[in-house]
Amino acid sequence: MERNFIEKVPRYFEPYVNDCFHNSYGAVLQYMGLNPNIVLADYLSFMYDSENGNIGVNYFYRYSTTVEFKEEELNTSLEFAYVPATAVFNRESEDTENIRFPDRVNINMFINDDNDTAYLRLKKLIDSGKPVVAAVDLFHMSYHRAYHRDHGLHCVVITGYDEKEGCFELFDKFRLSSSDFEGKLPMAEVNEGRASDNPATWSEDMLKRPVRNLWIEICAHKDFRITDKKLINVLDESCKRLKGLKQVLGKDCGLKSLEAFTRDLLLKKEEELDAGQYNWFRYYLNINFKNIARNRKRFMAFVGEISSLLPEHIAADICGKLEDASKHWDIAASIALKIGIKKSPELIEDLVKQLCEIHELESCIASSLESCLRGKMPVEI
C-alpha cells in the first residue's frame, strides 16, 4: 500500500481565468515557477459564424460530445503554449517527454478508458512530483453543488494519493463558497467522476460527453524562456486579429465580425423568435458573452504584466478601455439572459447598444495597440 503527497501546490484562482481547465493549468504553472498571466495570455479578438450563430474569441464556443480535442482548435489562442490533439495514453507516451516545441509550454491531454492504466499514470506523475490536472464529471463530486443534480465536465488538481486510506488529495479552487474544495476524497468517488459518461441532462437527444479519464500533463523544456519578442507578438497578433487583417480557422475575425454579429442581432428583432432562439440568448450568448468579458480582463492582466515594455500612458489607456469593454460584455450577458427569460425581443435594442459601446472601445484599443507597436516590431525589442 503506497501513499504520496505533493506539498505547496498554489491554489491559483483569478476571476478572469477562462475556465476550469485554465484555472487548473494556472495552479500547475505557478508550481512550476511560471506566470499564468503570461503563459496563458490569449489574443484579443472576436469571432462570429453567421451560418450557425456561434461566437468566440480565438475559436468558436460550441457544445462538444467528446474530449478528443483537435490540434487546430487548440492552438489558435496562446502564444506561449502548445496543445497537441488529445491522445490515447500508451506506453510510448509514457516513455517520451512530450515536449514538441521547446519554446512553448506543452500541455498534453491524455485519455484512456482503462481505469487502472489512468490510475497508474497518475500515481507515477505524483511520485515524480508533478501535480495532475484531471477531468471529472461534477455529478459525482460530493463537495460540489452539482452533486447528484447536474452533469458537467470539470477539472481539478490532484496532489496526492493514499492507497491504505483509499483516497486522493485534491483541490478545486474557485472561491465559490458552496463548491470550493481542498482535502481528501475517496478514490472510488473520484474514479467514478473520471470514468463517467457525463450525459447532457438538458439534451433531448441524450447527448453525452464521456470523460474517459482525461488528464493533462504540463511540461516545459529546460530552455523555455519568456522573451520580449514573443510578449510583443501577443499584442501584434491581437492588433491584426481585431483589425480583421487575418483569418482564424478559415474565418474572418475582429471588429468586422462584431459588426456582422450586431447587424444579424438587429434582424432578429424583426423576426418571431421560437423557443430555440430564446434559449440561444439565455444559455449560449449569456455564457459566452461572459467568456469574452473574462478574455478582456485577462488581456488587461497581461498588459499590466508587460507594461514596462510599453509607453506608460498607452498601457494605462489600454487597460482602462479593456476594463470598460469587459464591463459592457458582462452587461450584454445579463441582457441576453433577460431576453431569454422574459422572451422580450425589444431588449435586443439594449443589447445592441452595449455591443456598439464595445465596438467603440475595442476600435480604440486596436488603434492604441497599432500606435505602440509602430516601430517596435521586429527590431527594437
Binding site: 453543488r145 465559490l176 463558497s177 458552496s178 449569456n286 461572459k290 464591463k327 458582462d330 452587461i331 450577458a333 445579463s334 441582457i335 439572459l337 433577460k338 427569460i341 422574459k342 431588449l347 439594449d350 443589447l351 447598444k353 452595449q354
Partner: protein, 89 residues
C-alpha cells in the same frame, strides 16, 4: 411604498433563490459571497422583482457591480417607484 417594505419583499425573493443561508438574509451582505447569488441568479432575481414592483430595471445597470446587496437593489427600486428617476453611484 416604504423602504422597509421594499427590503422585506426583496429579502423574500432572495431567500427563495439563494443557494445557501436562505433563512438569514441581511440587507448589507454581499449576495454572491453570502447567499451564492451568482450572475445568472442575480438576473433571475431582478426579473422577478420587476413583476413584484411593476418596474423595469435599466439594462445598463444589469451588473453585479451595481446590485451586489439587497440594500443596493432596494435603493434602486425605492427611487424607481417614488421618482422614476434613479441615479446609481
Amino acid at each position: 411604498m416604504q423602504k422597509q417594505e421594499i427590503e422585506q419583499k426583496i429579502c423574500e425573493v432572495v431567500s427563495r433563490l439563494a443557494q445557501f443561508n436562505n433563512d438569514n438574509i441581511e440587507v448589507d451582505s454581499d449576495l454572491r459571497d453570502n447567499y451564492g447569488v451568482d450572475s445568472i441568479v442575480l438576473v433571475e432575481l431582478l426579473v422577478e422583482l420587476e413583476d413584484v414592483f411593476a418596474i423595469t430595471f435599466d439594462s445598463s445597470f444589469l451588473t453585479y457591480e451595481v446590485f451586489s446587496t439587497v440594500k443596493s437593489i432596494s435603493d434602486y427600486v425605492y427611487g424607481k417607484i417614488n421618482t422614476d428617476c434613479v441615479s446609481i453611484n
